[in-house]
Symmetry: C2
Subunit: 164 residues, 2 copies
C-alpha cells in the first residue's frame, strides 16, 4: 500500500467511495444527496486543506482529508476525515491512514487534532481513535440521525499532537 497526495484526476475513483459512505448516513454529517461536483470541492478543497489517498496497485483503497478545524484563533487545531473503500475494510487501511495523517498534521504545525462528530454507534472508529491516543472530550445527545438507528449521540474526540 502506498499513501500519496490526491489530486483532481483521482476524483472519479474517489467519488464511489465517498458516495457509498455518505449515502449510508451512518458516519458522516454530509448531505446524503450531495452532487459529485460539490463533493469534489469539499473533499479536494484548496490549501490549507490537503487530501491523501492510499493505493493498492491501481486501486484507491482509502482517503483522508486534513484541514484546520477552525479559522483564525482555531487554525492551530487540525481536523481530519477518513474513508476506507468498502471492499478494503478490516485490513488496517484506516489505521495506516490515521497514523500518516497525525504525522502530516505534526509536520504542518498543528498542535492538536479534533474530531467534531464521531457517531457513537461507530464503535470501530472510536476504538481505533482511542488506540491512537484520542480521548472523548465531549458527547452531544442525539445529534446524529442515523439511517437505521435513529437519533444517536456524537462524541467530540481530541488528541494533543505536541506538548501543549
Amino acid at each position: 500500500m502506498e499513501i500519496r497526495r490526491a489530486s483532481d484526476p483521482d476524483w472519479p475513483a474517489l467519488w464511489p467511495i465517498w458516495q457509498s459512505i455518505v449515502s449510508a448516513q451512518e458516519t458522516y454529517m454530509f448531505d446524503p444527496f450531495t452532487a459529485p461536483e460539490a463533493a469534489r470541492r469539499m473533499w479536494l478543497a484548496d490549501p490549507p486543506a490537503e487530501t491523501w489517498v492510499a493505493t493498492a496497485g491501481a486501486a484507491i483503497v482509502g482517503t483522508y482529508q486534513l484541514k484546520p478545524n477552525g479559522k483564525g484563533p482555531g487554525a492551530h487545531v487540525a481536523n481530519a476525515g477518513f474513508m476506507v473503500a468498502p471492499a478494503a475494510r478490516n485490513q488496517g487501511v484506516g489505521r495506516l491512514l490515521a497514523e500518516h495523517c497525525m504525522r502530516r498534521a505534526r509536520e504542518a504545525g498543528y498542535l492538536s487534532m479534533q474530531f467534531n462528530a464521531v457517531v457513537s454507534t461507530n464503535t470501530g472508529a472510536i476504538a481505533l481513535w482511542r488506540s491512537l491516543g484520542f480521548e472523548i472530550v465531549g458527547t452531544v445527545p442525539q445529534a446524529y440521525r442515523h439511517r437505521t438507528a435513529g437519533l444517536v449521540d456524537i462524541h467530540v474526540m481530541w488528541k494533543a499532537l505536541t506538548q501543549l
Copy 2:
C-alpha cells in the same frame, strides 16, 4: 428594542459590529482579517440560515444567525452565533436575542441547539447560556488562541429544544 429579520441593506451597519468583535479574537473562530464581502456572505448566508437584528431606534444594537449545525444527518441540530454592538453591552440585548433565537429555532423545527466553541474565558456568555438551560457537554483543551490570554479551552454547549 425591536427584533426583525436582517437583509443585505443592513450590512453596512452590521459590519463594524462584526469586525470589532471578530478582530478582538476573544470569542469567535473567524479569520480576524476577513474582508467585509466574505463576512457578509457568512453572516447573511442563504436559507436555511437566517439572520436577525435587534434595533433601538435607527441603530442596530445586536444580531444573531441561526443555522443547521450540520448537513444531512446533523441538520436537526441548530447552531447560532450572537453579537452585541460594543456600545450596547450589559443592557440585556444578548439575552433577548438568545430567547428570540430559541423560539425561532423551535418554530423552524430544530430539536436541539449546539454551540461548538464557547471560549472558556468568555464567562459572561457561559453564564448567560447556563441561565437559559444550556449545559457544557464537552471541553476541548487549548483549542482557541485568545489574543491576550493565549491558548485557552473551548466548551461545547447544548440544550434540547423539545422533548428528545
